[in-house]
Structures are given as C-alpha cells and as structure tokens.
Symmetry: C2
C-alpha cells in the first residue's frame, strides 16, 4: 500500500540494529525513533505546534481514553485526530485493550508494566470471546470493546498507525489459562485485521506479538502473525520483570519478525532500556517516561538526569546543557527552572517537558548516526 | 530622569480618560494598559517569550514572594529579573507590604481585595514604626520588611518600576487606629523614596495613595505624596466594598493626582471594573483575573466569557473568536480546548491563558483607540 511503506536504510555490521524510514500519509518517521505519549491527544503540558517544532515524528494516543473523552465520533467530526489536535506529523493509536485489561487485573497489570496505581475506578463487567464489556469511568455507560469496535474507533480517530485489539493476560495465571488467552488474542488480532481490511482508510495496522517471556510462545506468536497482512509488528504483553528478562525476550523475538516490516516495543522508554534494546533492532518504542520525569523536575542531560530543585542549581545561570538547541535551553537557565519548580509554577512542567522530549529526539538521532557508522 | 518619562498623547474630550506612553529602560508602555501578574517572575502556565509575543508591555511581580524564593540576591546575581526570567519588556514590582499585611489581617485583607483564602501559613511577629517582622513560610526564618529593606530587595530584583512600602490597614478598625496607620504609611513612603534616591539605579518609584473610601483622607494622601518626587502614583489600600464605592473613590482621587505623572490602580482588572474606571483616567492596573479565569476554563470573548467545558462546545470546530490572532485561536478550536479541560490536561491552562492575556492586550488597544476618537 503506497500510503504506508517501510524501507531499511542501513543494517549495522555490529548488531541487529537498523536505520529505517516509515512513510505515512503525515510524513516520514526516521527509525529508531522515540514515540512521545499524548494519551488524550495532547502530550502533557505541551502544545502540538511545540512538539512539531521539536520534530518528534510519532506520537502515541490512547484509544480507550479518547473513546470516553471526547469520543471517537467527535474526533471524526473534527476531521480526525490530526486536525483535532492540529498535529501535522504521524500519530499511532493503541487498541484500548491494554487500559481495559489493566482495569480488570489492577495490580497485576501494574506489575507487568510497572505502572502506578490507577486513579480511574472504571470496572470490567465481562470478558467473553466477543470482547470486553466495561463501565465508563466518566458517565457510567456500558461500553463493549471488541476487535471490531476497537478498529472502528481507531478508524474514527484516524491515526496513521493502529494496533490490533489483543488480550493482556495477568502475570500470574495458570498454564491452561495462559494458553487459552494466547489463543484468543490471536483470534482477536485476526478479527482486527479483517475489520481493518474492509476499509483501509489510508491507515496501517500493527499486530501485537504475545507470549510473555516464554520463548516457544513468542516464536509461535511471531509465526502466526507474520503470516497475516499486518503492516508492522508491536511487541506487547508481559515483556519481563526486569531489563535482562526483556533483553532475553527481544533476543529471540525480534529475529523472528518479518525483516521488511517495522516493529514497535510497547511502553518502554527509559534511557537504560533504550541503550540495551537498540542493538536488538527495535524501530520505535513509546514511553511517557521523559515527560513524566520532566514534571517531577528530572532534566535529561548527556551526563545523566539532573534534579532541577537540587540546592546548587539555584545559582546555575546557564542552560541545562550549553549545546542544547531546545526552546528551554535557548531561553532559560537552570536557576530559573529550579526556581519555577520550587515555586510550584506550572510553567516549569512545560519548559522541562520541552527539554526532555527534545533530548529524546536528539538522542535517537545520535543512535541512528551510530548505527549508520556500525558503532552499535 | 531620562530613563523614565511619561507623555500624554491625548486627553479625551468626553471624560478624564487619556492615552499616554511610559518610557522605561525596557521599552514603552502604551497606556491605558493591562498589567499581567507574574507573582513568582512567571505568569502562571506561560513562558516569558510567549508573553513578549503577545505584546503585554508591563508585568507585575511580587517582591514578598521573590524575597522568599529564590531570594532577591539570587535575582541580582542572575543580572536582574529581566535576565532571570528572560523578559525583554517592562516589569513592575510591589513592595511586599500587601502580602505581609494580608498575612497579619487574614480574612480582613481578603475582604478588602476579595482575595481567596491564603494557603501560605506565614505569620507576622511584630509591626513597629520600623516595619514588619514576619516568619518565612518557606524556611521559618525571621524576615524584617521595612521601607529600606523593601527598596533594597526591589533594587536587587531590578524591575523598571518599584512601589513604596506602605501599611495596609484592616477594613474594620477604629478611627484612631486608621488615622495612626494613615500617618505611618506616609512616613514609610517618604523613607522608601529617600532610600530609592540614594541609588536610583535606572528604576522609577511609585507612591501608594491611601485613605480608603474617605474623601478627605484620599485627598490628603494625594496632597502629601504629590509634593514628593515620585515618578508615578498607585492607588492602593481599600478601594471600596464594591464597584460603585471604587468608582466614587476614583472620581475624586484621580483628579487630585499630578497630571504629568502616570497612575496605577492596584489589583483590579475584571472587565466590568475596567470599563468603569477607564473614563476616570486610570493609566495602568494589574490583575490576575484573566489568567485565573483561564485556568478555570473561562475564555474571554467580545460577547462575554465562554465556559470551555459547556456541553455544546465539544463540537465547535472553530477558534474561540474567528478574528482573534492569538496563538491559541490560530492553532486550536473550542472543541479541542473543551476536551483538554474535560480531560484535565495541563495544556488547557496554557492555551486558555494565552488567549485571555492576548484578549486583554487587544481590549486595551481598543480602549486607547476609542479615547483617541473621544468616544470614551
């Protein structure tokens, strides 16, 4: 399909790392690329034009949240999510499944993705072969999420890339239940693909590779889904309790994916994990870590994270990094940021977020250059 | 003094309204002008460059807050408040007196200025002829605020315009106590002026006219302070329990001020009050109302305030005002703002604040044009 294309520019001689380009109706995503999280069609404390200026080439929005507020039909009426939020560059949406199952399994899902406690007290009413019935935390209405309704909502939202509706099994379940969930999630992904192909709408659809940290299951998942006409492959489900488990899983999972399709690692984006996962050939990955860290006053630098409110910073009348070209570093000093955080000024969140997102974009540029030089 | 000059461009034939220009070391303030409040050297949810772009020509910062965080000496080390916050246009600071007396009188001060409950539990330890001794809400340290220390702090902060240290009497006090306070505040203002003139530092100093809603006292205050070499005159203390009391007070106070000096009304800036006070000849006035209203989702329009989250707004895919040229209206719709407020996104505060501040700047431009045409 000409509106979505992936090309590999270079494969490193040193590892499986690769530099590529994903072509979408809203422009090119240079890979590897960090994907910023804009759950509610806004990255927290940032406006769309600012993110465009930073050249963040892919933003992640959450279908579950957007279905409930403002509603996918409202976004369709606005002309799609790009027009709604006035973003010109590519957007990816998830299926809504992850959030719904997080609600169902609560602490277990939190364990899997090391997420904090959920504040939204929605509730899952029923999980059947058809899909998941849950109660909206906003107005109490019953909402049925199935492969077909998820794809319908994602079509209404209109992102460049969609993700198949899958089942997220809790971390601790019996072998029998895990097997049943594994089989059902692949049936749901097939149904997602069928729903998508009826009306491609210039959108691409990624599968979600499952199987937890079980090598046989991961390979089986890659095998099943590789045979289907997905445009890309995201790696989801439980990716391990710690980084080493995740790296082990990536070592056998990524090579089992179609080489000519882009892949995406769901929900991972701390700096240590990125460093470790790039050599396995990850193309894109989304994480709210850089913006969340920013709001907590942690400013990214090449020498590690700088705590804005640290005592000595009150008198650092220089930018966070002298050679940084972000809006924040071009206009403000560490001393000013330190003050804004200490004075609880909202402006602090915006300025710190701009810097951290810009840092991620530049970091990925450096990774791409290193791969091109076969240094990774 | 050549670094500070006030020129009247036009006096209305219809009222006492006038159009003028205040020249400062950081540029011109076209009057009448709305003065945005950036208490902690930041207007809430906005960054300095954005406010510069809106052409807000004067920003108000609070000496009390800045003395405690980051400390006026830190701002001096930064090269002054303009460099500290990277603002290129003029800034005015108050003396710190209002905040300290608000702490001392609590609810009564709230009554006077219709402020909400104070969250900061600082405490005033002693009020003497010398000044006010209070305990810092940040670190518990004892801080002595006198005319001399206030001016010293304001010199370190380095705004273009400073305000004399005055005493804010509570609303309900005996005639004898009011008289004593009235006399002391004028002694304090004289001491402020003396301290200032020892080291003018290219700054201007405004007096504060006192006397509550007592005509004799207001006129006496104008008389005493007009004879001193202040660069401008702010109207402070109790300005009345309601708009009519304020208008009555302005009707006899403004004509008693030196015609060749700019005046400033302290802490008033709702749209109805502005409409009523411009014909009395008010040059500048500060208020946090536009940004506070913005954070509560009240968007200013020529037809009145629009509540962002109002049901029907979810489907208004147009800017707040079609002919508005602010960043928010140029890039985003009412539907998007409605969504951001409903989804509790921080971005909402920034976008709404940009619009309301821009609205105020444009509104004042219109007022100036109307005065030039003798329509007000």
């Amino acid at each position: 399909m000409s509106y979505f294309k992936f090309e590999v520019i270079h494969r490193s001689k040193k590892s499986r790392a690769r530099v590529g380009r994903i072509h979408t109706p809203h422009g090119i995503i240079e890979t590897p690329h960090f994907v910023g999280v804009g759950t509610n069609s806004a990255m927290k404390a940032l406006d769309s034009k600012m993110i465009d200026n930073i050249d963040l080439q892919l933003m992640f929005a959450n279908t579950y949240h957007l279905m409930l507020q403002p509603g996918s039909k409202t976004i369709k009426q606005a002309g799609g999510i790009h027009k709604f939020m006035n973003r010109t560059k590519p957007i990816i949406t998830d299926s809504g499944g992850f959030q719904v199952f997080s609600l169902a399994y609560g602490g277990v899902a939190s364990e899997i993705k090391s997420k904090g406690t959920k504040k939204q007290d929605a509730s899952v009413l029923k999980i059947t072969e058809d899909g998941v019935l849950f109660r909206s935390y906003r107005d109490g209405a019953k909402v049925l999420l199935t492969p077909e309704t998820s794809i319908e909502a994602q079509k209404e939202i209109g992102a460049d890339i969609m993700i198949s509706f899958d089942e997220l099994p809790p971390y601790h379940i019996s072998e029998r239940k895990l097997q049943a969930s594994f089989e059902r999630t692949h049936r749901w992904e097939k149904r997602s693909l069928d729903a998508h192909l009826k009306n491609p709408n210039k959108q691409a659809l990624y599968a979600v590779i499952h199987g937890g940290i079980n090598k046989d299951l991961r390979l089986k998942s890659c095998d099943i889904l590789s045979k289907m006409a997905f445009d890309g492959y995201s790696i989801g489900g439980s990716v391990g309790k710690n980084r080493q488990e995740m790296f082990d899983m990536l070592s056998y999972t990524v090579p089992a994916l179609p080489e000519d399709k882009p892949n995406h690692l769901l929900g991972i984006g701390d700096l240590e994990s990125i460093k470790g996962m790039i050599p396995f050939g990850i193309d894109t990955f989304d994480s709210s870590h850089p913006t969340k860290a920013a709001r907590h006053g942690h400013l990214f630098t090449k020498k590690g994270s700088l705590r804005a409110t640290k005592g000595g910073n009150a008198h650092i009348f220089r930018p966070i990094e002298d050679d940084c070209t972000c809006w924040t570093c071009e206009h403000y000093t560490v001393a000013y940021l330190c003050h804004l955080f200490k004075a609880n000024e909202l402006t602090a969140f915006t300025l710190a977020s701009i810097h951290n997102v810009h840092f991620m974009v530049e970091l990925m540029k450096e990774y791409r250059e290193k791969i091109l030089r076969d240094e990774i």
